[in-house]
């Protein structure tokens, strides 16, 4: 089993210009009852996208037809709160492949990486430039280059590098999966267990 290989792409972006977006907002607990990993995208940001009657809230960016693309852009401390991986599943299932923010909560960042969803941490200044660019042109394009570890605003050519650890980068680029890897080193793990006794 593997995750999809991550290749360089250019896309528009959807801006959710709020800080401290917690995983209860990304996917409320009442939608965590599935026993299979599918369909979570329908309930992504459920209570911000839909009102109590189930009608779409037009002002929420995901409902705003001006925005489209595979990049979600959000304010700092994205993904805080609950460890539910359903948050990463919902974002990926909706069709995003990248989340850009100036700061990610730890568990969310790991969960995203384990699902081929790339969290790109940029500076506050660059994040502001990205939001400004989308305000200027809602169809603004951005290029995500994992190999060079850069996020580029296409119209201006302005670019910022991002960090990712070498192991996870290799996993994303090759579609490797940690479970298969860990299972493959069972001998080492058994030797470790024996050494502790």
């Amino acid at each position: 089993m593997s995750i999809p290989k991550f290749v360089t792409f250019t896309s528009g972006a959807v801006p959710v210009e709020m800080e401290n977006i917690d995983t209860d907002q990304i996917i409320p607990a009442r939608f965590l009852k599935a026993t299979e990993r599918k369909g979570f995208g329908d309930n992504l940001f459920r209570d911000w996208r839909y009102d109590a009657s189930g009608a779409k809230i037009a002002s929420f960016p995901l409902n705003d037809a001006r925005y489209e693309g595979q990049i979600l852009v959000a304010g700092r401390n994205f993904g805080c709160g609950s460890s539910r991986e359903h948050a990463a599943w919902a974002i990926a299932d909706y069709g995003f492949r990248v989340v850009v923010s100036s700061f990610f909560a730890d568990i969310f960042r790991n969960n995203a990486l384990n699902n081929g969803l790339l969290p790109i941490r940029v500076s506050e200044e660059f994040l502001k430039a990205v939001f400004d660019e989308i305000r200027r042109d809602p169809k603004a394009q951005f290029t995500v280059d994992l190999d060079r570890q850069t996020l580029t605003v296409v119209s201006s050519g302005r670019s910022e590098g991002f960090e990712i650890d070498a192991y996870k980068k290799c996993c994303l680029q090759n579609g490797y999966d940690d479970v298969d890897y860990l299972h493959s080193i069972a001998d080492r793990i058994e030797a470790f267990e024996a050494s502790r006794k």
């Binding site: 401390n77 991986e85 479970v179 299972h183 080193i185």
Partner: protein, 458 residues
């Protein structure tokens, strides 16, 4: 250079280090529950793998279950299916499972320490961010995602970057009416809801030492609410006495040997932490939150800060600069992995004894486990509560995340001893104010936000 407690435990569990610094970390115990495990079971089965070390996994149903009439089938079909899937998966893979109604069932973070599974020096994970609770016993314990649950199923290891270290020292005697919950709400209000991100916290200082094991669990439980991977407290005599005789702790001579090992678990005097904070217990009052993340907290008698987040205040229906004291409350929730232990129920029962629940209040008093429920009944707490108009419900996560029927209606105000006040956390549109047991008790008997130091003889 000296090593921190985290260094000692982490390094002793590192099987190997990958390029880029990720560690293959060996996990001594994994706890699982019905919400974050089914996809992980599906994952290993699709790969054709078995569960590598079923005896090192403990399962319980807690998130989705009703807190009344637990002998009846769960009404909600999706919740029932998830709970049934856990039972089936555990049976198929030989994992010990405490199902609803079992005398050892309860919230996963309550039963782990209560049954003695959680021990000093261990590495512990669970697909639940409040796994940090177990750090109170001197374990490295943290929440993980479902992919990582699957990794542990497949290999008893996860791949993890070692967090940076942070020490939070609180010294001095707690003021009148102040409890462990107030200490952690105060800390988070000072360092913010993201101040601990990237770090693993060690709580230290005389105030922390003075707390009971239950209180220490309350503090460590909420480490994640400032973004930290986990929080821990070096084990001491209190820890050892807490574990002595617990069912799954070492027994007899083995226990003494274990204690000798556990005594080595402390940060060396010359250990250097990546970040340090110091707080004075004298600055901590009974706390309450006014906003929509756990960092938006203040003393219960304080005014909402002038610069409070307007979006949060709009959701809560509050104004910057106003006091919360005297504002009406609709619901009081006592329970959760934060404040659902026997000490919490004792405190609540003692405070409301001889008084009456206010008519405008709906109160849910939910024990954290069957063990807590049994102890509460054995001590007669259920009768004290009943005489004051409160019902002791059955154990589960309940209104903390409202996955079951215990939902706060839209627009209603809840004073909750749980851990998160996010928008909609306790039900769509619910307005949650986090607090300790005493502030919850004061709201329960007065029907309003009140200072427990004025309401009770504290």
């Amino acid at each position: 250079m000296g090593r921190t407690l985290l260094d000692k435990i982490w390094d002793a569990h590192t099987v190997r280090v990958e390029d880029g610094g990720r560690c293959v970390l060996y996990i001594d115990r994994q706890y699982i529950h019905e919400v974050t495990s089914p996809v992980a079971f599906g994952g290993i089965e699709r790969r054709g793998f078995g569960v590598a070390r079923p005896s090192q996994i403990t399962a319980t149903a807690d998130h989705n279950i009703p807190t009344v009439d637990q002998h009846l089938p769960i009404e909600e079909p999706e919740s029932r299916r998830q709970v049934e899937a856990l039972a089936e998966n555990c049976a198929r893979h030989g994992i010990e499972h405490f199902r609803v109604g079992h005398p050892k069932q309860g919230i996963v973070h309550i039963i782990g320490p209560e049954l003695g599974f959680t021990q000093p020096g261990m590495t512990i994970v669970c697909g639940d961010s409040h796994t940090s609770t177990h750090g109170a016993l001197g374990a490295v314990a943290f929440g993980v995602g479902t992919s990582e649950v699957e990794m542990v199923f497949a290999s008893q290891c996860i791949l993890q970057t070692k967090p940076r270290t942070m020490r939070i020292t609180v010294d001095g005697d707690l003021r009148r009416g102040v409890e462990a919950k107030d200490v952690i709400l105060y800390i988070i209000s000072q360092i913010t809801a993201s101040g601990g991100t990237g770090y693993f916290i060690e709580f230290a200082g005389s105030t922390i030492r003075s707390l009971s094991m239950e209180g220490r669990m309350t503090v460590c439980n909420m480490s994640i609410e400032c973004g930290a991977r986990g929080g821990m407290i070096a084990p001491d005599e209190k820890t050892f006495e807490y574990l002595r005789g617990r069912e799954r702790a070492p027994q007899g001579a083995d226990f003494d040997k274990a204690v000798a090992r556990w005594r080595e678990l402390y940060s060396d005097a010359d250990a250097v932490f990546d970040k340090e904070y110091r707080f004075d217990a004298a600055d901590i009052a009974p706390m309450i939150t006014y906003g929509t993340n756990p960092g938006m907290g203040m003393a219960v008698d304080a005014s909402i800060p002038a610069d409070a987040d307007p979006k949060a205040l709009e959701y809560m229906g509050f104004k910057a600069g106003e006091k919360l004291l005297g504002k009406p409350v609709d619901y009081v929730f006592v329970g959760s992995c934060t404040n659902g232990r026997i000490e919490d129920l004792r405190r609540f029962a003692r405070l409301v004894e001889g008084r009456r629940k206010a008519d405008n209040i709906t109160a849910w008093i939910v024990p954290g486990s069957k063990g807590v429920e049994a102890a509460a009944k054995a001590e007669g707490l259920d009768k004290i509560l009943a005489a004051a108009g409160f019902e002791l419900r059955q154990p589960g996560c309940s209104a903390c995340l409202a996955m079951n029927a215990d939902k706060i209606p839209a627009g209603k105000y809840s004073v909750s001893t749980s851990n998160r006040n996010f928008e909609g956390r306790q039900g769509p549109g619910a307005r949650t104010m986090l607090a300790g047991v005493a502030v919850a008790a004061a709201a329960a008997v007065t029907g309003r936000i009140a200072d427990p130091r004025d309401v009770f003889d504290l």
